[in-house]
């Protein structure tokens, strides 16, 4: 087992593990900054959604990945952040103020939700968050004087210091927020607060015996996670420029949990990977749908088969790719296959690929099974 020889204690948990990491992250950031000048708005839009999802992923990583608390109602926090933004903007609050305030406001809501978490475990907590999400959705739909109920709210484009943020401007805003949120999350994780979360996740009993006030840290985890999701909600509201209660349904909450499951529960990198997957899966499936008939056509022509056969196969392919609901079928299968064969998520795969290249040519196939369970049996 290799371990670094340390020269001092100051570098106990550096932001970057090595000079190479600094370099590659700098390259990534430079690429993201250059993106609006290089790629089409369609891809820029995808990047914005990826960033919004990544922020939610980070939020859920703190709550579930770090502190081991389950939530399948995070769409409610997204909704609270989004509606806060819409209302604040309407009342002329500037963006520099309402963006962080959306986080704070949602954070308080998260704190209140966190209170029952002190007594609930596992599936009970999960269902309680679900119930909370339904109730929030109903309140938004009914509180017409503020939320316009089911009609929804239109948001004018965001403006910063009097300047209307265009597509690029908004992209940079999202990029900035994403980077800040990730930095904040890293800071949390490598601090006493983050270690307390981890302790609660792995053994609540031991955590208490180490002097950790588990109740206060659980609510802190909820508040932090909700707050970050609220900021994502603010960005989401602007990106969509229209919000209505049905945009924050259970399906959205489940999408969010998918982010961290597919990305990998423990690492922040997993949250980002998961966000990329959740957003990109749909466009990729669309492109596949468009391309597969073209490819098969080309292939069939290459085989010099009789025309009737070519046409029959082509018709069959078209029938399959155009079957309504095919996409959700494929998506469902991807999820199942992923969980079975890639239980540590995309981040787990990334780690193994990296390890493989590091140890090349001595690398051996290691087991893909997870070494342990993070959320322990509830039957205690």
């Amino acid at each position: 087992m290799a371990h670094h020889v340390r020269t001092g204690y100051g570098d106990s948990d550096p932001l970057f593990l090595s000079k190479a990491a600094v370099f590659w992250y700098a390259v990534l950031l430079a690429g993201l900054i250059a993106a609006p000048y290089v790629i089409e708005p369609y891809y820029l839009s995808q990047l914005v959604f990826i960033m919004i999802y990544a922020i939610v992923g980070v939020a859920l990583n703190i709550l579930s990945g770090q502190a081991g608390q389950v939530s399948i109602g995070h769409a409610a926090f997204l909704a609270i952040g989004a509606y806060f933004t819409a209302v604040a903007q309407k009342h002329g609050v500037p963006l520099v103020l309402y963006l962080p305030l959306a986080g704070v406001f949602t954070g308080i809501a998260g704190y209140l939700v966190g209170l029952p978490a002190l007594r609930l475990h596992g599936i009970y907590l999960a269902i309680a968050t679900l119930a909370f999400a339904f109730i929030v959705e109903e309140i938004i739909a009914r509180w017409e004087s503020v939320t316009h109920g089911n009609e929804g709210l239109m948001l004018p484009p965001p403006s910063l210091f009097g300047w209307k943020l265009g597509t690029e401007g908004f992209y940079y805003l999202c990029l900035l927020v994403t980077v800040l949120v990730i930095l904040a999350a890293i800071n949390i994780i490598r601090s006493s607060t983050g270690r307390s979360f981890m302790a609660i996740r792995d053994s609540e009993t031991a955590a208490r015996s180490m002097g950790i006030d588990t109740a206060s840290y659980k609510t802190t985890a909820f508040a932090l996670s909700a707050g970050i999701t609220g900021i994502a909600g603010a960005l989401y509201a602007h990106k969509m420029s229209f919000i209505s209660p049905e945009m924050f349904s259970l399906a959205v909450s489940i999408d969010f949990v998918m982010i961290i499951i597919i990305g990998g529960l423990v690492s922040l990198r997993g949250a980002v990977f998961g966000a990329i997957f959740m957003i990109m899966a749909d466009p990729l499936l669309i492109i596949l749908k468009d391309k597969v008939p073209v490819w098969t056509d080309a292939m069939m022509h290459g085989l010099f088969l009789p025309d009737t056969v070519t046409q029959a196969v082509q018709a069959g392919v078209l029938r399959v790719v155009n079957a309504p609901g095919l996409k959700s079928l494929i998506f469902g299968i991807i999820i199942i296959v992923f969980i079975i064969y890639e239980p540590m998520g995309l981040d787990g795969r990334w780690q193994r690929v990296k390890a493989y290249f590091k140890q090349f040519p001595l690398a051996r196939q290691r087991s893909a099974r997870p070494p342990r369970m993070f959320l322990k049996s509830e039957r205690r």
Binding site: M1, H3, H4, Y9, G10, S12, D13, A184, N187, I188, R190, S191, S192, T193, G194, R195, S196, M198, A199, R201, D202, S203, T205, A206, A207, R208, S209, M210, G211, I212, D213, T214, T220, L224, V266, P371, R372, F374
Partner: protein, 252 residues
Amino acid sequence: MSFFDVKNLTVKFGGLTAVDNVSFGINEGEVFTIIGPNGAGKTTLFNLISRLYTPSAGQIIFRDEDVTRLSAQQIAGRGIARTFQNIELFESASTLQNLLVGRHRHSTTRAWQDILRTKKVRTEEVAHRRAAEEVMDVLRLQRYRDTTIGALPYGVRKVIEVARALCVGPTLLLLDEPSSGLNVEETNAMAEWILEINRRLRVTVLMVEHDMSLVTRVSNRVLALNYGKMMALGTAAEVQGHPDVIAAYLGT
């Protein structure tokens, strides 16, 4: 007034009285051991002292303070740290991370400071790190510093538990069967470390233990329990020679 006193401590689970009117005192600087057959209520007593359980009656006094009604995390805050019989380490984290959790009561920063990683946070982090490294030096855990607990052998984990408890900076250390699951060599090493912790770091030790050779080697005084009741209290030799204790162990 002694350093640590348990007075008439009793706990009932349903109809069962697991700890029955137990009283004893521990002097500062000694190693005090509780022995007894399986089901004697030793671990229950431990859980009462570390406040994972709430006593039905009785008092726990630590340094002139009644700590009977404090919560488990407050107990740790007073400088009472413990280990667990079946190991309750934070398995997905590294050894260093585990030890740093032990330092929790020494950190004074709040969540927002942690987010911003203010100067105070950085200063404290360095201090925590130094303390943890020192403990690792004492217990020779340096080579496991960055290894995840899940990947470590049982014997090492047992030592890490002790290390984590030491990081709390305790004046009273509760060790719950430190030698269980260890082989002879590891048990010997454990005995050395207990003595070293007691003598060099001047930490008072309250211990539950089965292995009589270990008990004899390190304990100043021994308390024997059976069915939640006190049987004998004295030096290791005295207690071992006590007829009730012999009878209890032989099962007559």
